[in-house]
């Protein structure tokens, strides 16, 4: 392997620069020290304040009882799988529905006006209805109709409720992304002779989707939590299991256990969202220095 000749003589930092680096290091060390002390003081202080307060033993017995946590854990763990499955199945349907609605809303063809109207009404209506109400309506109402040929389980219809509710939200996220693409992109695609549909398919939507990934992930985190709503129509999920145990034993520790499950599930996705957002911000900045 040959090395490229170095055009400049090797550079070594001047004494002033070395002094400056030492100074910066000192500043970094000091701010690290301040940060650690502040963290320690705040959290240890808070912890002590909570634990030493007069009501703490009762709070601990009702919410943080180790034996109850252990006893309720296996059932909650098994039932949590229902929440995860619901999320994993609902998510693709939400994405498809939302993209279709967003595209319908931004279509300009005369023939598609009815479709556009449907899309507008859909987002208005389903974004307006509280998700829990929608799940009650569908989860209790649809099985009561005793329809032939479609599933009659409350869990299935609760899932449909989630898809409809979140579809309306995510559609708006997509639409915001589509509308944020600069008109010059559409103009240059049309100048190349692409049709309106081709312009959307090959130029606008790919850019829009990339841009809305962070807010989309944010909605996913929210959906993961809202799978807990199926418990209200008797969907036997983790929350239902916790409530079952809690009502029987007069202890709320299982709720804390379920909460921990949800936190553990949502934190990785939340971190991923942060990372993506930072990456997009850096990319945008790179062009505007």
């Amino acid at each position: 392997m040959t090395q490229a000749p170095d055009p400049a003589p090797a550079w070594s930092p001047s004494p002033r620069e070395l002094e400056r680096r030492r100074q910066r290091r000192r500043q970094r060390t000091r701010s690290l020290l301040v940060a650690s002390t502040a963290v320690f003081v705040v959290f240890v202080g808070l912890g002590l304040a909570v634990v030493s307060s007069p009501g703490w033993p009762r709070v601990q017995a009702l919410f943080f009882d180790w034996d109850h946590a252990k006893a309720s854990f296996p059932e909650i763990r098994d039932r949590f799988w229902v929440n995860v499955k619901l999320f994993l199945i609902a998510e693709p349907f939400i994405l498809l529905l939302a993209l279709a609605v967003a595209l319908a809303r931004s279509s300009r063809a005369a023939l598609l006006v009815p479709l556009r109207l449907v899309a507008v009404v859909y987002t208005d209506v389903f974004r307006g209805i509280p998700t829990i109400l929608l799940i009650l309506l569908l989860g209790f109402g649809m099985p009561a109709l005793q329809l032939e040929g479609i599933p009659n389980s409350a869990l299935f219809w609760a899932g449909v409720g989630l898809v409809l509710s979140y579809g309306a939200y995510v559609a708006e996220v997509f639409r915001a992304g589509i509308e944020s693409i600069h008109p010059s992109q559409v103009a240059s695609a049309e100048a190349l002779g692409l049709s309106r549909a081709q312009t959307m398919r090959f130029v606008v939507v790919p850019q829009a989707v990339r841009r809305v990934v962070p807010p989309l992930l944010n909605d996913f985190v929210s959906l993961q939590k809202d799978t807990a709503l199926v418990a209200v129509v008797g969907g036997f999920d983790a929350v239902f299991a916790a409530r079952d145990y809690g009502n029987f034993n007069f202890n709320y520790t299982p709720y804390v256990v379920v909460a921990a499950f949800f936190v553990v599930l949502t934190v990785p996705l939340a971190r991923l969202t942060d990372r993506l957002q930072r990456r997009y911000a850096e990319r945008e900045r790179a062009g505007a220095r």
């Binding site: 400049a8 550079w11 930092p13 001047s14 002033r16 620069e17 400056r20 100074q23 910066r24 500043q27 505007a288």
Partner: protein, 247 residues
Amino acid sequence: MSPGVTPVLEVAGLRKSYGDHVVLRDVDLTVNAHDVVCLIGASGSGKSTLLRCLNLLEDIDDGVIRFDGREISDPLVDVRAVRGRMGMVFQAYNLFPHLSVLDNCTLAPRRVHGLTRAAAEERARNLLDQFGLAPHAGQHPDRLSGGQQQRAALIRALCTEPTLLLLDEITAALDPELVGDVLRIVRDLAGAGTTMVLATHEMAFAREVATTVCFLHEGRILEQGPPDRIFNAPREERTRGFLRRVL
């Protein structure tokens, strides 16, 4: 330079790199009060980076920058206090789109320098009036032409009454017929004795207003001197080559 007078800006042995890529090396530059220093050179020669280093927008890797006799490349220096005494104008104007021209101009005087709204607005209106933008004071930047926006950006920088004005290719994004309006302001400022360092591609303008011209090549100031000498009798072969291409 007469002895005993502190230069406004003194740069010695400045070095700046991004990773392995060295953008500036061994840059020495002295700017005295009322000097107009023009940085010329090809794109990527380090003109903009040098200005950004002077304004402490970039950390430097070596060397010393002194402003009014005080070293500002010291990590302990209050960066905001330094920037409060320097004005900078960017190639892409960088006006705040959500504020009117007047509010753009009064933001820093009010929030950084503690002027009252009335005092800040009076100063801004005087400058806007002086440079022909008074009718646009209440408008938002996107209603203005590029030349008007850049003049507004210049006025925004002047409103803080900076000791030193840094201009980073402020006419590079403008249509040729709008360049003149902006350069007229810079010419007026130079005539009034404002101390400036500017990166520019306008050679005729540099020859006219500069007290010193610096030719940058691959991150070095290859040659510097009065405009007459640089443009008429450049010493370096590379300077001659560059001037042949741009003149």
